[in-house]
Structure formats: C-alpha cells, structure tokens
C-alpha cells in the first residue's frame, strides 16, 4: 500500500487537531488537540523515514514523544492552577488581559 496515504492521514489528523484548538473552549481539550497535532507529526516522520529508508524519522518521533510528555507536565500544571483559582477550565473565561 502506498505510504503516501499515511501522509494524507497525518495531514488530516493535523488539521483536525488545529481545528479543535480553534473551536474548543476547554483548555484540557485544546491541549489534547495540540497533542493530536504532535502525533500527526510523528506519523508523518515515521512515514517519511519509511519512504526514505533511513531511520532519522523514527528517532525524531521518539524525541517528539518525550517533548510532548514534558509539555504535558508543564501544561497540566498550569491549567490546573488556573482551574483552581477560577473554577473553570474554559479559556474564554480567561479574558482579563486584552486590548
């Protein structure tokens, strides 16, 4: 089966993720959408490495996972703090800073 299709899938996932970021209110969900985008990238990397026949892409995918994990740590921490002080995880409620 033509690996190019995996690329299309990756692009699709990425777009879904981006759209999610744009339309969802809940910070957690938005964050998950970002994760989805990162994983789309991973898929793309793996696919390309398969096409190129070198392993760089796969290595990068691992790096990406680690980074994503680190991001989760920081991100959740921040989101939780603001949830505790505001009792809501909706990013639209955080609108003090504007203009």
């Amino acid at each position: 089966m033509n690996p190019v299709n995996y690329l299309y899938l990756a692009a699709l996932l990425f777009t879904i993720g981006a759209t999610g970021v744009l339309i969802r209110r809940n910070a957690i969900v938005i964050f998950m959408c970002v994760e989805l985008m990162l994983n789309a990238c991973n898929l793309a990397f793996v696919t390309f490495s398969r096409m190129h026949g070198n392993l760089d892409g796969q290595i990068i995918a691992f790096f990406t996972m680690v980074v994503a994990a680190a991001e989760v740590v920081v991100g959740l921490a921040i989101i939780v703090t603001i949830f505790r002080s505001r009792h809501s995880a909706s990013v639209d409620d955080a609108g003090l800073l504007k203009l």
């Binding site: 390309f48 980074v67 991100g75």
Partner: protein, 551 residues
C-alpha cells in the same frame, strides 16, 4: 512498485547479517561548554532546592545562577578568543550544534542579558516585607489559590519560589542551543527546552496572580500550538530532503545532491513539501520573535508575567529566536531566497506598521513596551531580509543593543509602585519627572533609544539594519521603516510628556528605592545604551567579524 522493493531489500538486509556496532557519538564537550555549564548549574540548582534549608536558598540560588552564567560567558569569550568565531568555527556534536561567529556572539549576548536579568529576579526590596521577611516579585507558593488560605499560610511560613533560578537557567540553556542548532531536531528540542520554563515563570507573579496565570495559559497554549506547526514543518522538510541537518537540506535545496529514493522523485520535483515545510517552520520562529500576525500573545503575556520575567523574555527570547531565524534563512535556504524574501517582506512591513500603530493607543506601560517590541521585531526583520553578511552583523548588533534597552526599561517599570504592586497604568506615571527626576530621566533615555534618537544605541542599531536593508535592495522597507519609526516616536514621546510636562497626581505612585541588584541592572542598561550610541565602532566590528555562518 519501487518502494516495495526498497522496503523488501531493507528487511532482507536486516535479516542477512547481524547489525554492525553503532559507533558512540563523538561530542566536543569543550566547544559546547557554555551550554553544559548553564545546564549543570541548573541541575545543581534543583538539588539545592531539594536539600538546602529554606533560609539560605535564595542567596545560594542567586550565587549559583550568577556564577554559572558568568562562567558560561567566560567560556564563550574563551572560545571566541580561541578562534572558533572565525577560522576554527565548525559543526560540533555530530552535526547537531554549530560553533561559529553568530552562535558565539548570540550566546554571549544571551548570557549577559540573563545575568543582568537574574539580578532583577533576585530583587527583594521593592515589595513591602511580608511579616518581617523581604519578598521578591514571585508568588510564595504558585500552586496555592490566589487569596486562599493556602497562600496566606505559605506567606506566613515565609515560602519563596526560589525555583525561578533553576528555571531561568534551563531556559537559558535552551536559548544557547537554539541559535546554534544545526539540525531541525535540535532546533525543536531547544525551542521546547527554553519555552517550557518560560511558560511556568509567567505564572509565578506575586501580585495580580490571576493575570499572571492567565498569561501563562495563553502563552502555553499558543506556544504549543505554534510548536506543533513548527514540528509539522520539520516533518515536511524531512520528507522533502530525507535529512534534518541544515547542510543536508541546503544541498538538496540547491540541488547539489539528489534524494536517492525515486519514490520521492515526484515530491522533490514539485516543491510543495519544501515550500509548505519552510512556511511552517518560519511560522514557528516568527511566533517566538512576535511578528505579525503571530504576535497576539505578546501584549497579554508581557503584561501578565512578572515584570522581571517579562524583561528577560523580551530581551533573551528575541535574541535566541532571531538567531535561529538567521541561521535557518542563511544556511538552509539561501538557495530559495527568491521564495522567502517576498514573504518576509510582507511580514516585516505589517509587523512594523501594526506594532507602531496599535501602540499609539495603549494605556499600560508593559503593554506599550510589548507593542514597541513587536515594531522592533519588524525593524530587525528588515535587516534579516537583506540577505547579506552586512545584514547578519547589523541584526546581531541590533539584538545586542535592543536587549539591554528592553531589560533596563522593564527594570525601571518594577520601581514605580503603589498599593497594588507595580503601577503600570500610564495615567499613574503623570508627573513622575517632577517627583523623582532621576528615574524619569533614565526611563526617558530608554524611550529615546527605543525611538532611535541619535546618540543612543537604538539609533546606531536602526541605522545599521536600515543600511543593510538598503544595500540589500530593500529600499521600500527602509521607507516603511522610517515612517513607522515616526509613528512609534509619537507614543514614546507621549510617555515623556506625561512624565515631565503634566502635573503629578496627589495619589500618584511612589518610586521604590531598589537594592544594588536592580540599580546595577538599570545602570548597565543605561551604560550600554549610551556606549553603543556614542562609540559603537568596536561592537559593530565584533558583529561584523561574527557575521559568517558555518555550514
């Protein structure tokens, strides 16, 4: 069918004989020493957090951070003196990190900026002491709910978030690698390494914690969003070139080597992968430098974050991000200059104009400075676009000059306080010049430097980049540049008018008397501003020598 065969052959190869021993990576520790020192110091800082008694932590952390940064700077100087800036410059750590003029220059700048910034982090005299203990501008316990019992207890217990020092060190570590990164993976990792600590730092303000946390959330979400784009761009470039090393991609772009795999011949032929990838990577970097239309986080985050952090971010992040941008455009993509230059033209123009215009109606000092930083990003981009060695050196000089002005300006902002902490609303600055002429005068100097008035570093830098742009054939950019400088001048002047020509308000803010830490930070800012304004020759030469990238 071709790809099937390759796949097959790959597997069969794997099956045929046992895999050879993979040679251990060869790392030039000396040449990476600046980064390593800083990260080492950061780790020590973490340990110190764990083991030292609370009482001594602050002093210890400060010492550790300052020491680490100073040592790293010494290492940079040593490397530069050792010729790594010029003839001996090369790519270290198996093609991951470049050690060359621009890298060392920027690393030196970042380290100095960080050093000065750390002083402002450690300032403990501005806020009124909470039951007897001096406090800095960071939350006693970030996790505690603002105004909740936990917070009160934390304050009573005299907790202080000394973790900020290790965090800064980590961030600096990332920033040191960012402009030196010589493959896209390193670029991405470095980006995250310096972004994540910053996200946290933004949320640590002692006063107005809601704003602070909000800024952290916004910064984090948008940052993650942009880094996702960056990563996808990297993926596409990898797909296009089959490698992520700058040199490798550059060769493919310029067509000196061809991708072996015929399966990708099609995608190589139409450069969609390349172009989309480049665009996305550029977007990731432009987000960090705060270029329009990826700038919208800047004002909110600058305003919400603790002012010392804002100063540090505004100065250091820009330096690092522009460094990376330069390397990417000059090392990876010189071959496709005719594709990215027009695009960057557009970005530069809108950045200059939007930054200047929106700043006109700002009412908060920190937001004002945020927008001015956007406008300045535009000016620097003009230099980047020149695509000449002059362009590189002018950008380097501008970054050095600009970062110290910014640092100084935000340091001054920390001094003007009233009951609610820092009094950042402009209306409260009215008549400051009457009440405390010195502080007002110093701030005026910084504003004039921002405005690019001659005899300040701002003018030298602006002249350098515009000159490079003009010689690089971007005369229209220069025109737009001077026009937006004119608009920008208007709001800098407004602040000066406010400070000197309007009567002070009865309930106006007081100007806190800082400890030597902040004072020295401000003093350094002023000194650098004036020296680079009056006698920039030496530093221009330095930047000029540092203007050559290694490949």
């Amino acid at each position: 069918m071709s790809h099937v065969e390759t796949v097959h052959s790959l597997w069969t190869l794997a099956a045929a004989e046992a895999p050879k021993k993979i040679p251990g990576p060869h790392i030039e520790y000396v040449q990476l020493s600046p980064t390593l020192i800083v990260l080492g110091a950061a780790l020590l800082g973490v340990l110190a957090e764990a083991f030292l008694p609370r009482g001594v932590r602050h002093r210890a952390q400060l010492g550790l951070a300052a020491l680490g940064l100073a040592a790293a700077f010494a290492a940079v100087v040593a490397l530069a003196a050792g010729g790594y800036a010029s003839d001996k410059s090369h790519v270290a750590a198996m093609g991951a990190v470049a050690v060359d003029g621009p890298a060392l220059f920027l690393q030196g700048t970042i380290l100095l900026v960080a050093l000065v910034a750390v002083f402002t982090f450690a300032e403990r005299r501005l806020d009124p002491a909470a039951d007897g203990r001096p406090v800095d501008s960071f939350a006693a316990q970030a996790a505690a709910v603002p105004g909740g019992d936990a917070e009160r207890e934390a304050v009573a217990a005299g907790m202080v978030t000394t973790e900020v020092f290790p965090l800064v060190l980590f961030a600096v570590g990332g920033m040191l690698v960012f402009p030196a990164a010589d493959d896209l993976l390193t670029l991405f990792v470095a980006l995250e390494v310096f972004s994540l600590p910053l996200y946290i730092l933004c949320g640590l303000a002692r006063r107005q914690r809601l704003l602070s946390q909000e800024s952290a959330v916004k910064y984090f979400l948008l940052g993650a969003f942009s880094s996702a784009f960056l990563l996808f761009g990297i993926a596409l470039l990898y797909g296009y070139a089959g490698t992520v090393t700058y040199a490798g991609i550059a060769d493919v772009v310029s067509g000196t080597t061809r991708v072996m795999d015929p399966a990708l011949a099609g995608s190589t032929a139409n450069d969609a992968l390349l172009l989309v990838g480049v665009a996305m990577v550029l977007m990731g970097l432009l987000f960090k430098v705060g270029a329009v239309p990826f700038h919208m986080w800047t004002p909110d985050v600058y305003q919400g974050a603790p002012t010392p952090v804002t100063g540090f971010m505004a100065a250091a992040t820009k330096v690092a991000a522009f460094g990376a941008l330069l390397r990417l455009l000059y090392v990876v993509l010189p071959g496709m200059r005719w594709d990215w230059r027009p695009v960057m033209w557009g970005v530069a123009i809108v950045t200059m104009l939007v930054g200047a215009i929106v700043a006109v109606t700002q009412t908060d000092v920190k937001r004002l400075l945020a927008y001015s930083s956007i406008a300045h990003a535009g000016f620097i981009l003009a230099g980047v676009i020149a695509a000449t060695p002059d362009g590189v050196s002018s950008v380097l000089f501008y970054l050095a000059a600009y970062s110290f002005v910014t640092l100084g300006a935000f340091a001054v902002v920390t001094l003007v306080r009233d009951a609610g902490g820092e009094a950042t609303h402009l209306s409260k600055w009215a008549g400051l010049g009457r009440r405390s002429p010195l502080v007002a005068a110093v701030f005026a100097v910084f504003l004039l430097a921002f405005a690019g008035i001659p005899l300040t570093s701002g003018f030298a830098g602006k002249f350098a980049v515009f000159k490079a742009a003009a010689q690089g054939g971007a005369a229209p950019l220069v025109i737009v540049g001077v026009l937006s400088s004119a608009i920008a001048a208007f709001f800098y002047i407004r602040v000066i008018v406010l400070m000197f020509f309007s009567e002070p308000k009865a309930d106006g803010p007081t100007v806190a008397v800082p400890s030597p830490l902040t004072s020295s930070a401000i003093a350094i800012g002023v000194a650098v501003t004036l020296v680079l304004g009056l006698a920039p020759q030496y530093f221009l030469e330095l930047a000029g020598q540092a203007g050559v990238f290694v490949r």
